[in-house]
Amino acid sequence: MNYVALSWLDLAAAAVLIIINGVLSFTLRLGLERSIAIAALRMLVQLGAIGFVLKFIFDQSSPLVTAAFALVMVGVAGHEALARQEARIGGWAAYGIGAGTLFCVGLVATVYSMTVIIGPEPWYDPRYLLPILGMILGNSLTGVALVLNAVTQAARRERAAIEARLALGETRFEATSGVIVHAVKTGMMPILNAMAAAGVVTLPGMMTGQILAGVDPVEAAKYQIMIMFVISAATALGVMLAAIGGAWLITDSRHRLRLELLQLV
């Protein structure tokens, strides 16, 4: 592969652009210079650090180190899924639903991609595994967060209908089936849009990256197609698990709707 490597001086040249932003903000009294400086510094430290961390993991190429880093990614994704809720259920149950769903989806989709589809040597080669897991988690996370939000919102809106169905003797999953279907549709929307727009409206990030790194555009497109299939399947699975999990969370074992367990945040 042939690509133009960036020197530290090149990065400094890019940083000049953001410094110009800061100076503009200062002279025009926009009051943004502080926010710009903090955001830019955070980005610099986070990306710089992850570069070194990934380099270390790739050099080790150890299954244990790779698995440990993958688990950290799942944990952070689970936390993110909950942080985006308007109403949440206290305690570990909700975190368990979010993180548990992402763990199942990430494990199944990543292992399938690595062994059946890509097949690097060794199969857990972190250079492939971690970016693929990241893309799966990133998209599933959006879906799961949307679904949990849709379940709690729809349940509050449809309370009378759900309770009427429970009173008629339906089980908690029968009575919330309308809510579950609505939530799954909501959760699938972003990935369906992303697939429909890919290549026409947007050039997906991974494909862009590979092209910059010197990969033949047709080969990059093939990789992107593979990834789109994997992440949409993973998102669909995660969205369905999370919708059922969400319905389980807002009801109890006596098939009652327990909206009082929701805390508005």
């Binding site: 009378a160 309770e163 169905r165 339906e170 006596r254 009652r256």
Partner: protein
């Protein structure tokens, strides 16, 4: 047939009473006195300490859906989840029975295929009653079943309730209509005005009017 023992609902003192087959008990009290909460607790829609027995079997001894198929709570404001009333009935519903029930509360069959949103409050209330009676639950917990009805529909619904009592069902009736209560109730339960005041089950004055 329906026996309630030391049921703790909200701020009320523990309630105990028994209603026999074919009998109706009215539940009275001002707004906020816990009438709806009591019915919901009996249907096991809300958690409440204490016991509710149907022919000697406590509610916790069976799955909640099975309990609610026999002990049916009908809300004052019924909920709907599909576009037309027909979709709220099982596909296997006995058409003849459905037609007779609709007829008994003065509703046309054609109403079943109209959008829910286009029906009047009174029509929806009566449709909910039909939906709740079609599978013949043994205990009916009726939360103001005639509250939003005109005089004529009210008489039809009262007639239907009386018919349910003749079929040996148990009826618990929340109502603000003293005429309706005197016509139907064999017992009256009074809930206190603060929610913790006296509550008593006593025979109705004109209890055997039916």
């Amino acid at each position: 047939m329906l026996r309630v023992e030391k049921l703790k609902v909200g701020g009320l003192p523990p309630l105990s009473f028994e209603v026999a087959k074919g009998e109706c008990m009215s539940i009275e009290g001002p707004s906020g006195s816990g009438k709806t909460r009591l019915l919901r607790a009996i249907a096991d829609l809300d958690d409440a300490p204490g016991y509710v027995f149907l022919e000697g079997v406590e509610r916790r001894e069976m799955p909640a859906p099975q309990w609610r198929r026999q002990v049916r709570y009908l809300a004052a404001e019924p909920g709907w989840w599909a576009a037309t009333p027909r979709e709220h009935f099982p596909a296997s519903v006995d058409r003849g029975k459905l037609g007779r029930l609709l007829d008994s509360v003065g509703l046309e069959d054609s109403l079943l295929d109209q959008p829910i949103g286009q029906l009047s409050t009174g029509e929806r209330l009566r449709l909910a009653l039909v939906r709740g009676l079609i599978d013949e639950p043994r205990v009916l917990l009726l939360d103001e079943p005639t509250g939003a009805l005109d005089q004529q529909s009210r008489a039809l619904v009262d007639e239907l309730i009386r018919f349910q009592l003749l079929a040996d069902r148990v009826v618990l009736l929340v109502s603000h209509d003293s005429v309706e209560i005197e016509r139907l109730a064999d017992q009256r339960l009074q809930l206190g005005d603060t929610g913790r005041g006296v509550s008593s089950a006593q025979p109705a004055v004109n209890g055997s009017a039916k």
